[in-house]
Symmetry: C2
Subunit: 277 residues, 2 copies
């Protein structure tokens, strides 16, 4: 499990350096840089990477000292659900806690915006996956003007502080923006409409959001620039090709876990003398 | 996905009828009744059953109207962790929420015994898995005399009412006792001691619990007899053979899900006229 250099090499081009302002329009949504081959070959490679992820998850769980939090953000139909299914199916669900954040409840709205996500932060030993997250509070909340700028703008700092505090307590945070083109979104919406087993995923409300594509993109650009840090970096993952997206996400997870390097815990002293009757 | 009769047939011999008092000593821990073949053939069959489980989970998730709660109980080394890993690895973790209940925290102890498990009850659309559960409050709590009988005995009724209330709200509850022999436990403890990647799982405290095997067995017998109901049945799963155990657990899940019969939800009206721009 020691080709960390490979995983790091696969992803460094997509990491947002602290302070960088990525112009999303300049990042190809259909990039496949560094992929180990075509779609089929990359999918095969992903199967191996999932097995490796499962091994690391076992170590993390055994160690019970660190946690990993993966934050997934994307435009609608950007592939958050599909990424979770493809990347984590094959990993023991006992150590994986997925939290989907939808429109907040009355109780959640009665608290600060980090309250509901903090409750769902992964425990030691776990990989936590956020399907949407506290970033919605500087994205949809901003674009739809649900609160004034004087409220949402200070949230960048609150988010940096929150994630730093998780990091200090042993939780490594990585954040992924699954980057699709507006055309790709149209195709995926259409595919949902055309498939009876997926039609339920489609809501006419999605079309109103689609009309504000440029506003959302600008909000993402600023949020990413404001909150990508050394310890809790953002990655912009080209996601038009699902197979490439999955491969990048797996490499992000593997590079991160290798950096965390969880170890099997020390055994109780005296185990060598035990005879079981 | 319609051989419900098969799944039902596979498991009915292990279901505890309401009011029945199973004598665990009379149930073979190494039984393999009804298995589709030997170890290898049954493992192959399980792979197919996991795929079927993944399909049902997708429907349950899409429907968002019902939930399934699987309660796993066993003696130490009975295979709770291994069952979760083998049965649910391969199912989308977004719809599976595993909760492990250990010694209660001070806050948990300051509440009634159902408080902490109720918080972890699966949401609509989810499969919840309890690795240990509220049953510990009539098992370890009873055997170790952590509270007097006047406290733990009324809990049987409280558990029946609690599970009935979950059922009335759309959550189907099934409870599995993974049934191993005392010899099998000894072998598994020894295997943990012999494997450097598993040694951390072993605690000398497990040996003290092992000495009270008969007390725990009696406590299980009563708890199962008192709480197996038509709507929330117990299954006693012969678990010395992991491959047979996994096959039974998968059949319990599949028979239960087929009984629940989740459906893709109706689509929004007017979707046929939509053109995406």
């Amino acid at each position: 499990m020691s080709d960390r250099h490979d995983h790091e090499q696969a992803i460094e081009r997509w990491r947002v350096a602290p302070g960088d302002r990525v112009r999303l329009g300049d990042v190809a949504t259909d990039a496949t840089d560094g992929a180990p081959g075509d779609k089929h070959e990359t999918e095969d490679a992903c199967e191996e990477l999932v097995e490796r992820l499962a091994e690391w998850q076992g170590r993390l769980w055994a160690e019970q000292r660190q946690a990993l939090l993966l934050v997934l953000q994307a435009m609608d139909a950007g592939g958050k659900d599909g990424t979770i299914r493809k990347v984590f199916t094959g990993v023991n669900p006992q150590g994986v806690a997925v939290s989907a954040f939808k429109a907040p409840s009355a109780e959640e709205l009665a608290h600060d915006f980090l309250w509901r996500v903090h409750r769902r932060a992964p425990a030691r030993g776990e990989i936590g996956v956020f399907n949407r997250s506290h970033y919605e509070d500087v994205l949809v909340v901003r674009v739809e003007e649900l609160v004034p700028e004087a409220v949402w703008r200070p949230r960048y700092g609150a988010i940096r502080d929150f994630e730093a505090s998780l990091g200090a307590a042993g939780t490594t945070v990585v954040k992924l923006f699954l980057h699709i083109s507006k055309d790709e979104q149209a195709e995926r919406f259409q595919a949902r409409l055309d498939d009876p087993t997926k039609r339920w995923k489609f809501s006419t409300g999605d079309l109103a959001v689609r009309e504000r594509w440029d506003d959302y993109r600008a909000a993402y650009e600023e949020a990413i620039a404001e909150t990508s840090t050394e310890r809790a970096p953002w990655y912009v993952v080209p996601a038009d090709h699902k197979w490439y997206r999955n491969w990048v996400v797996l490499n992000v997870l593997l590079a991160t876990l290798e950096g965390m390097d969880p170890q099997y815990p020390p055994e109780e002293p005296g185990l060598d003398d035990i005879v079981i009757r």
